[in-house]
Symmetry: C2
Subunit: 162 residues, 2 copies
Amino acid sequence: MTNEEIFAKTTINSWKLAIDRLDQMFSSLSDEDLQTEVAPGRNRVFYLLGHLTAVHDRLFPLLGLGQRLHPELDEEFLSEPDGKSSDRVSAAELRRAWSEVNQQLMAAFVALPPEEWLKRHEAVSEEDFAKEPLRNRLAVLQSRTIHAGTHVGQISLAVKRQ
Amino acid sequence: MTNEEIFAKTTINSWKLAIDRLDQMFSSLSDEDLQTEVAPGRNRVFYLLGHLTAVHDRLFPLLGLGQRLHPELDEEFLSEPDGKSSDRVSAAELRRAWSEVNQQLMAAFVALPPEEWLKRHEAVSEEDFAKEPLRNRLAVLQSRTIHAGTHVGQISLAVKRQ
């Protein structure tokens, strides 16, 4: 492996570890358990499952990896706060979307040549990117990995209460 | 910048974003606020401040970057669960140790040549590393960045209640 390959593979592997941990937690919770709030009055795990799916789905266009799979989730899980009792999607649908998005993302990540991670993402202009080369795709992946981590920390509070 | 430099700098920057976010949260909380539990019956922010400081301090030997600064924190904040009311360190001392550890870590990270991130860390043997080259220093840094993220997610629950 070249050094660039090791840099890219290590970073993808760190993303995978965060996703695996979320997978394990979601699998350990029944559909009823998903209704648990991570802390009193805070988001339900159900909402965070939808939220993470929507955020990850947006990585396809943001990283130039193709079309989104589930744009219909944005309103309920990104634009709006946790509606608590007015769910418009079933837990089964949400679990399926979560798996589908992450599986297809992983396939796209693995297929991306290492140096492509250092190119600009779609939310930064060519002009700005010329001045700030750290605003690259790798930074987006790492930012979303940390984001996943923040919700791992919150959901673990609910998992341990079950 | 070479591609290796961009890979390394982007990853260090992601770590910095997580540390900055923790810094902001800790600064926004008074010493009394640090006694807040992130959820009922769970760790206090005070414990997580000590825990994160100890975990980050252990990066010095783990990454071959030098001696630890605060090994005395391990017992209270790593070996033991949150003791709630028997604190042996003051909030002021803990805040100082947190800043000191992260500042010196950042200086060491920035000074490390990019390719050094791909070498083995001290917790993996040369033999194992030859078979598993992704068990490198970069993976450790990314793992600790996600770990910091999990506690960002938990502490944010306490910050919003203040």
